[in-house]
């Protein structure tokens, strides 16, 4: 039994730790969302050129930043899992993917809504919008590959390799799309204010922090389920309070 505990020590301790941390992250995420929205809508002034529409930025920019960083973090965990064969990192990678994909979706949707009043079109083949769309495809590929392999170990390793190949490709794709874009059309409308108002910055950073905390909370909650699912045959899982209760009642 001692060997068993040692072998699964990382997921075991992490399961409890994550369970304690989730409420805190969720709580502060909610508070920061409220503060960020308040500053963004009531304190920050109207932009001279974009009017009220620029306020989409407070959700659009954090969502874009998160979708990109989450991909890199996911690829990092995937690489750790592949090289050192640590079980927890592979679980983290597969827990991050859905959150990253949803942030990419939010970023695309809000980008289109921002584009309509600014450019007069829901969608332009702007370099950043296009790269974001390709990023969403990469996330979907990762999720689809992981889902279609039944053996969890092979799924983890195959998806990890794909994530690493994708992260090597991301700079090449971004560069080529930018290059392609400058060939096809002039520069698109960028944020007009050369100096962003301080309240705008505050709102943006608060929302960014809120999105980070939210993402961490959701990913931890998801990884807890994955740990339970993978380790359901081990001793420590059957001794968890929430699971042991029911069988005691039965007896």
């Amino acid at each position: 039994m001692a060997i068993n505990w040692f072998k699964y020590s990382a997921p075991t301790t992490f399961y409890g730790l994550a369970g304690k941390m989730i409420p805190w992250f969720a709580f502060f995420a909610a508070i920061l969302f409220a503060i960020g929205l308040y500053i963004g809508f009531f304190v920050a002034p109207m932009d001279a050129q974009q009017g009220e529409f620029y306020r989409i930025m407070f959700i659009h920019v954090p969502a874009s930043i998160l979708s990109m960083f989450l991909y890199l973090i996911m690829a990092g965990y995937a690489a750790l899992g592949l090289i050192f064969n640590t079980r927890l990192s592979a679980m983290m990678a597969s827990a991050i993917a859905p959150t990253g994909a949803l942030f990419a979706l939010i970023s695309l949707w809000t980008g289109a809504l921002w584009g309509k009043p600014m450019w007069g079109a829901w969608w332009l083949w702007d370099a950043r919008l296009t790269s974001e769309l390709i990023l969403l495809f990469l996330y979907l590929g990762f999720i689809a590959l992981h889902a279609s392999i039944e053996d969890p170990r092979r799924a983890d390793r195959a998806a990890a390799l794909l994530a690493i190949v994708g992260s090597v490709n991301v700079p090449i794709i971004y560069f080529s799309v930018t290059w392609w874009n400058t060939l096809h059309q002039g520069s698109t409308i960028k944020f007009s204010g050369t100096s962003m108002h301080i309240a705008m910055q505050q709102a943006m950073f608060t929302m960014l922090a809120a999105c980070w905390l939210y993402a961490i909370a959701v990913v931890l909650a998801r990884v807890r389920s994955i740990i339970l699912e993978r380790e359901r045959n081990t001793a420590w899982v059957t001794q968890l309070p929430g699971i042991a209760d029911l069988s005691e009642v039965k007896q």
């Binding site: 590929g141 590959l145 092979r154 195959a158 390799l161 560069f175």
Partner: protein, 227 residues
């Protein structure tokens, strides 16, 4: 006994795969017919105006080539996987990367090269100028091997999976976007009188990068899939 060098091995694998492909000629022709058909559907879909077709030609031909090369990727490893040859190859003392490189090369010669040779005819259908067709051919020559090599990674990852074909396209197509951009960009540049050197050298750089890294990555992917 003669010493078995890496080059011998490479030639051996390429020759073996080519012989196997010649036994099943229908597969090669299916890819080619698909390529011609997709390219011919575009004028029917968007209208016969020569000006518009000339403008679209490079993009249409490149996208058709991209889709056609996806079609045959599923067969890259699956036959060897099913009859156990792949397992023997992995047990062989020779480098798996070299074996994989040989299979990639053979795959390109069977499914990429015919597309390149067919492209001028389709280019004439789209009323492209001779110069533009020349650049298109050079671009395809540099680009289609990249498609085979990047596609091999996807083929190795999806080996033996149900619904592998669609999944394979989902994984590989986003990774091929740079090739598409530089390939069509070169034709566009020559049509508008700009220099094509930058596009083609970038395509060449991608080819070298792919040549260095993809055989090794594909070998790793095969090891993961065969465990």
């Amino acid at each position: 006994m003669k010493k078995f060098t890496m080059l011998d091995l490479l030639v051996l694998v390429i020759r073996r795969d080519l012989v196997l492909a010649m036994r099943r000629r229908a597969d090669v022709f299916t890819t080619l017919i698909f390529f011609v058909m997709v390219a011919s559907l575009f004028p029917l879909g968007v209208g016969p105006e020569p000006d518009m077709l000339r403008k679209m030609a490079a993009g249409v031909l490149w996208v058709a080539a991209l889709l056609a090369s996806m079609l045959s990727l599923g067969r890259l490893f699956s036959a060897d996987y099913l009859d156990g040859t792949l397992e023997q190859m992995m047990l062989a003392p020779q480098s798996l990367s070299i074996l994989v490189l040989g299979k990639m090369t053979a795959h390109w010669m069977v499914s990429g090269l015919p597309l390149v040779l067919m492209a001028p005819v389709l280019g004439l259908q789209f009323d492209m100028s001779a110069q533009a067709i020349g650049v298109l051919i050079i671009g395809l020559l540099l680009g289609t091997p990249i498609l085979s090599m990047v596609g091999a990674i996807g083929a190795a990852l999806t080996l033996g999976l149900r619904g592998g074909g669609v999944l394979l396209s989902l994984l590989v197509l986003p990774l091929c976007i740079p090739v598409l951009i530089f390939g069509t960009g070169a034709v566009e540049a020559v049509s508008s009188g700009l220099s094509i050197a930058s596009h083609l050298s970038l395509l060449g750089a991608l080819l070298v990068l792919a040549l260095v890294f993809t055989p090794w990555v594909t070998a790793q992917a095969l090891r993961i899939s065969m465990e």
